[in-house]
């Protein structure tokens, strides 16, 4: 009994940091409507800065002062980020905001390693809380008791701040209606900045307070952000009480889940999240989300099938690509195969995003499932390549069917957070269920059969499948189903009013995209000859998002161009610099600020502008843009 009670207290102590970070995320979202992906990065920065300060200044004052000053320093960094970056993208679509803040996260990962090195850092114990309290023969660290007491205190302070101060009233008013607050003459800029500063302060404090309990390392950000997303999905975005209750719930589930499923404790959290989503789609304390902002430029030109000239050009480009083995070496062909595989992956996500308006932040899950599916079939069952290639993607289909069912209950930022959390769950399974997946060592020796083993023949295989997938997806875009899917994206109200079951349509799209991604993953397993948890990882999901954005969301086949450009640049970049995350992150941020329409979208806009020389249509276009 005592053991379970101690386990319960450990859960409560872990909830403290989670609550701090989640409440910060919720406060920022409430006012600015930005889901700050970089919140995990601020949490990690808080831990690193606190580590340095507490090492530098000794004693109780040094420690506690160091923790608070660390949070203040990081909050100041947050203010800078808000003023330089976020102010430019408050009116951008949510997807772009998520992506820009993710770009920041990538940059911080490299910066942290540059400053503090790649090794785990062990922080000091907290002065005054070094010992443990004896509880019926079980030890409870006294620092845990301090953390348990802290979160209700922080909750109380936040409550007072929001209920009893003028600033708090303004924040609550802005949470309900930003435009009205602006109309009443409140200086929005500084309100937003101060809210962002408070949110970042809470995140950094959460990180700093963890150093006596946990080693500081450069993967903290993604670990916490996934948990925080789970917390806000359960508790409801924008609700501080919700963040508190859900943080306790998730931490307790983790604490006891370890006892029940030692290897894959995250399953328990997932089950609870699934139940909450079905019963209360907007979380325990959340409110239904307002309609999502439309992507800019949506109204400019409707999609049309390729003209015969364009079709000829595409076939010509494909034929040209097919001739690559005539003059390129083996390395170039392997790179070519990889690019073709990523065309498949990006096209599958693009289908979901552009036609369905569903920005999945965890699309790699289905890519990776396809890869693992092939690895299981080829290694464990010993099936020939052609059979594995056909059946392996079915694992992606299965995963997409299960997770997609829950994900399509939501939309917008909730959808993005949920897909990310699902992907992370699959990653944890791949990483932790060592007996089946090989864990970090992966599954090796997945080699193609003889007929596809030469770089040239594998390249042709990948190119052929990529062309097939891109064509099939294009056909689906213009099929009745494609239009039904677009209808649910364009106007949920109208599509429901003409008899379209939006959830079932979106679920089908999710399964199509997941299966297609699985095809890419299946090829990828044979290309690399192995499968690792990385194939399910967040960074791969984000690579896909960047490819789609680079190509342009509001295009039919922009992802093909985006994948080619991104993958080629990425392979080159990794060979040139160790700081590829920093460069990539900076690139993402720049892209979001400067070219929100992507390569193909920008080209199309330019072409349209040149075409419409007569003033009438130019006027019409500008009117449409103003109306946006």
């Amino acid at each position: 009994m005592a053991f379970y009670f101690v386990q319960f207290l450990t859960g409560l102590a872990s909830a403290a940091s989670l609550f701090l970070v989640a409440s910060g995320l919720s406060i920022i979202f409430g006012v600015t409507r930005i889901v700050n992906f970089a919140h995990g990065a601020f949490y990690m920065l808080g831990a690193y800065v606190a580590f340095t300060l507490t090492e530098r200044f000794s004693g109780a004052l040094g420690f506690w002062g160091g923790i608070v000053v660390a949070a203040l320093i990081v909050a100041a960094v947050g203010v800078l980020v808000e003023m330089v970056l976020l102010r430019r993208i408050y009116h951008a679509p949510e997807l772009f905001q998520l992506l820009a803040t993710f770009g920041l996260t990538l940059m911080v990962q490299d910066i942290v390693v540059l400053i503090w090195g790649p090794d785990d850092l062990l922080g000091r114990r907290a002065p005054g809380f070094r010992g443990a309290v004896d509880f019926f023969g079980q030890n409870i660290p006294s620092y845990d008791l301090f953390l348990i007491a802290l979160s209700p205190i922080v909750l109380g302070i936040l409550w007072l701040l929001f209920q009893r101060t003028r600033w708090g009233v303004l924040v609550r008013a802005a949470t309900q209606d930003r435009d009205m607050v602006a109309a009443l003459g409140v200086n929005q800029k500084w309100l937003f900045t101060s809210v962002f500063a408070l949110g970042v302060f809470l995140a950094a404090l959460g990180g700093a307070l963890q150093i006596p309990r946990d080693a500081v390392h450069h993967a903290l950000d993604l670990r916490i952000i996934v948990e925080v997303f789970v917390v806000v999905v359960i508790g409801g975005l924008g609700s501080i009480i919700g963040a508190f209750v859900a943080a306790v719930l998730v931490s307790e589930l983790n604490a006891f889940g370890i006892l029940i499923f030692p290897k894959i404790s995250i399953i328990l959290v997932f089950l609870v999240m699934a139940v909450v989503l079905i019963v209360r789609p907007w979380g325990l304390f959340g409110k239904p989300e307002a309609a999502a902002r439309r992507t800019p430029g949506l109204t400019v030109n409707p999609w049309r099938p390729l003209t015969s000239g364009e079709r000829l050009m595409s076939i010509g480009a494909l034929a040209l690509a097919a001739m690559l083995p005539l003059f390129a070496g083996n390395y170039a062909l392997t790179v070519g195969s990889e690019i073709a595989i990523f065309v498949i992956f990006a096209a599958s996500l693009h289908f979901l995003m552009s036609v369905g308006g569903l920005a999945s932040f965890g699309h790699a899950a289905y890519f990776g499932l396809g890869a693992y599916g092939v690895a299981f079939l080829a290694k464990a069952a010993g099936l020939p390549m052609i059979v594995s290639l056909l059946l392996g993607p079915l694992l992606g289909l299965l995963g997409a069917a299960v997770f997609g069912f829950f994900a399509v209950q939501l939309s917008g930022v909730y959808f993005a957070m949920l897909t990310l959390a699902f992907a992370q769950i699959i990653w944890s399974i791949a990483f932790q269920w060592v007996t089946v997946t090989g864990g970090d060592n992966g599954i090796l020796g997945v080699w193609p059969d003889n007929w596809a083993s030469s770089p040239a023949s594998f390249y042709w295989l990948s190119l052929g499948i990529a062309a097939l997938v891109a064509t099939v997806l294009r056909v689906i875009v213009f099929s009745p189903f494609g239009f039904a899917l677009r209808a649910t994206r364009d106007s949920p109200l109208r599509s429901e009013a003409i008899g379209i079951n939006g959830k079932r349509v979106r679920w089908t799209a999710f399964v199509i995209a997941g299966t297609t991604a699985g095809i890419g993953g299946a090829l990828f397993a044979y290309l690399k000859g192995s499968v690792f948890p990385d194939s399910v990882g967040i960074s791969l999901s984000v690579d896909a998002l960047v490819m789609v954005l680079l190509g342009g969301v509001e295009t039919v086949s922009g992802a093909v161009i985006g994948a080619i450009v991104f993958k080629a640049a990425n392979i080159w970049l990794v060979s040139q610099t160790d700081l590829s995350k920093l460069v990539l992150g900076g690139f993402i941020v720049l892209m979001v600020v400067a070219f929100p329409k992507g390569i193909v979208g920008t080209l199309e806009a330019l072409r349209n502008r040149r075409r419409s020389t007569d003033t009438k249509s130019a006027l019409a276009t500008s009117r449409v843009e103003v109306a946006e």
Partner: protein, 263 residues
Amino acid sequence: MSMVPTLLSVENLSKSYGGVHAVRSVSFELRAGEILALIGPNGAGKSTCFDMLNGQNMPDSGRITLLGEDTVGRKPRAIWRLGVGRTFQITATFPTMTVRENVQVALVSYGRQLFNLWGSTAAYARGEAGRLLELVGMGAYAERPCGELAYGDLKRLELAIALANQPRLLLMDEPTAGMAPRERIELMRLTARIAREQSIGVLFTEHDMDVVFEHADRILVLNRGSLIAEGSPEEVRGNPQVRAIYLGEGLVYDARHREGAGA
């Protein structure tokens, strides 16, 4: 009149939010080919009533019988499948599609082809879409992007979409809101003509009394959630209780008519 079938029958419909009775025991019937206006001052419960008929809101009690079926608790899309067309106070269309494609999507749904992955939407029911667009006077705009349309044209497009499932009943929430006076009259004339020709019942809410008195066959007046009057335009106009509620608007209406008659 007794030969005309009842399309919609509402019995003792009620809905309250906390202590506020938004709709109190409202009952009425609507027959095929009839144009019925639901009016009342702001907050009278018109929208709540409408949302309950449309399946967007659950009544606390009462019965709604639409085309012979009890529809309480059904989703909007299920009610649409029964043969109910819907237009919204603020138009809801698909801005990234052309005008024709907007209608084609509705036809795809009506033809139960939503999960057809391989066909071509462009070729699907092209003629029928064109016919519907001609019917509402939008034939010339078929290939225009819907996002470029003026508001009045959007309203007409919405009417074409609402007609795609060959409805027996049209539910129109403030069909002329946000339109210029001339457009209002044209749109309602068009609606009335189509309703008479195809024997479609129309239930609409409206703030513009000119539109209501000119086009409605019958008028229901809601006030504070209760039905206070029901009858022909003349009866309702003469009703002292309605006059009391609508004092301002009623006077303006009479004054305007006198002016109009003089000019």
